[in-house]
């Protein structure tokens, strides 16, 4: 229980220890702790950001898919429409062609018929002349009776 020089010695020791602790122990360690704290905080913030970006990306992707779906449907619609158009066009074209062919065929038939009639008339008139020659037993002057024969042929 003696207070003596030890008190001064202890006081100096104490001051040196506190100084050393502050300078070389506390400051570097507390700085490292603070640094780690910021690192962890940054990491957590980055993770949050990443999650937000992912959510945003998912929404964006959904939008894109929706858009693509709409476009696809539109294209499909257009294609169908175009298809029906082509079919109807083809139909009308085919109809017109048919008509044209029909008309042409009819015209041909008409000309064939009139040609046949023509030749038939000529043959009939020849027959008639031959018949008349037989009947008359003589040569009919074709030139003299040409009018007559033409008239006959026209009446056939």
């Amino acid at each position: 229980m003696n207070i003596n020089l030890t008190l001064i010695g202890q006081l100096i020791t104490f001051i040196v220890f506190v100084w050393f602790c502050k300078q070389y122990v506390w400051t570097p360690i507390i700085n490292a702790l603070a640094e780690r704290r910021t690192t962890i905080a940054d990491g957590l913030a980055a993770a949050d950001k990443g999650q937000a970006a992912q959510a945003e990306g998912e929404i964006q992707a959904g939008k894109l898919v929706e858009e693509a779906k709409g476009q696809a449907a539109e294209i499909l619609n257009k294609a169908e429409k175009r298809g029906t158009e082509i079919v109807s066009e083809a139909k009308t074209e085919a109809g017109g062609e048919g008509d044209r062919i029909l008309v042409a065929a009819r015209a041909e038939i008409d000309t064939e018929v009139s040609k046949a009639k023509e030749s038939l008339r000529a043959q009939v008139s020849e027959l008639a002349v031959a018949g008349a020659q037989q009947i008359l037993k003589r040569e009919v002057d074709e030139k003299a009776h040409a009018d007559l024969l033409d008239d006959l042929a026209a009446r056939l």
Partner: protein, 288 residues
């Protein structure tokens, strides 16, 4: 020690409570004191070699371990030792943040030093009381008190250090007039100038006593607890002196029980000393 038949119980206790003191003898020569009387004659100009040696050894041990970690400290994943040191530092930092409202970079390292140093000094109490003194006696050292915190010099030195810091920061933060006002203008206040002047001496006496009481209670609390604990260990150790008997076995049991209980006390006292330091410095930083 206890085997020496000539040694009485009271001599045994006295021996254990005597520091290894180096100083000037009454005849003018310098040397180590033998016995309490010689120590008394030396007066103030003597030094307790054992207190100095153990406290410096333990302080250096604490600082060496912490410095080793601080040197290789990494902000990334800490290894085991760094983890342990960080755990203590976090604990101190939390306490300082909780109790200290001002801004001062000295308080936290001060608290850390006090807590670890006092804890280590107190832990010396758990070493069986005879082991180190007996070893010391084998190499010719007559006295060896191994628990520095049972030496009032050590506890007063720390309390005075804290007290000086308290005064320094009080004056630095509040100014001389602010500090003087704190000592004289409360707890009794008055708007009346006459009453005010009348209250100044009363306030001063009250505040001055409470100011001076702080370092004294601060140091004596630690000293008293450790001294009493040490004393009980010594008393238990006396029970062994009867040789192998029922009393000796009971002493062994008591020793164990008291040591386990003492773990609580040494930690608690180190913690209380640290917390009070923080609180006193916080008071010094507060404006009224």
């Amino acid at each position: 020690m206890s085997s020496e038949a000539t040694l009485t119980s009271s001599a045994y206790i006295k021996h254990h409570l005597t520091n290894l003191t180096y100083g000037r003898h009454s005849d003018g020569s310098w040397g180590i004191a033998h016995g309490a009387d010689e120590i008394k004659e030396m007066g103030f100009w003597a030094i307790h070699l054992d207190t100095m040696f153990w406290s410096i050894l333990l302080g250096v041990l604490f600082l060496a371990v912490f410095r080793k970690v601080a040197k290789n400290v990494v902000a990334g994943v800490p290894d085991g030792m760094q983890n342990f040191v960080e755990w203590i530092i976090d604990f101190i930092d939390e306490n300082v943040r909780g109790s200290f409202t001002g801004k001062n970079d000295l308080v936290a390292p001060l608290a850390l030093t006090l807590f670890c140093w006092i804890l280590l000094m107190n832990v010396m109490d758990l070493i069986p009381v005879d082991v180190i003194p007996m070893l010391a006696q084998l190499i010719g050292i007559p006295y060896m008190k191994v628990v520095p915190s049972t030496d009032p010099n050590a506890t007063f030195a720390m309390a005075i250090g804290v007290f000086v810091l308290t005064i320094y920061y009080s004056i630095k933060i509040k100014g001389v007039s602010g500090f003087a006002a704190e000592l004289t203008m409360q707890p009794f206040e008055s708007k009346n100038i006459v009453l005010k002047l009348l209250f100044i001496p009363i306030n001063f006496i009250l505040e001055f006593v409470s100011l001076i009481a702080r370092p004294i209670s601060h140091s004596l609390r630690l000293f008293g607890n450790m001294y009493a604990g040490e004393m009980i260990f010594i008393l238990i150790a006396i029970m062994f002196s009867g040789g192998l008997s029922v009393v000796a076995v009971a002493g062994g049991g008591l020793q164990l029980v008291w040591a386990i209980f003492h773990i609580l006390i040494i930690t608690l006292q180190a913690f209380i000393f640290m917390v009070l330091t923080i609180v006193y410095l916080d008071m010094a930083h507060q404006h009224h």
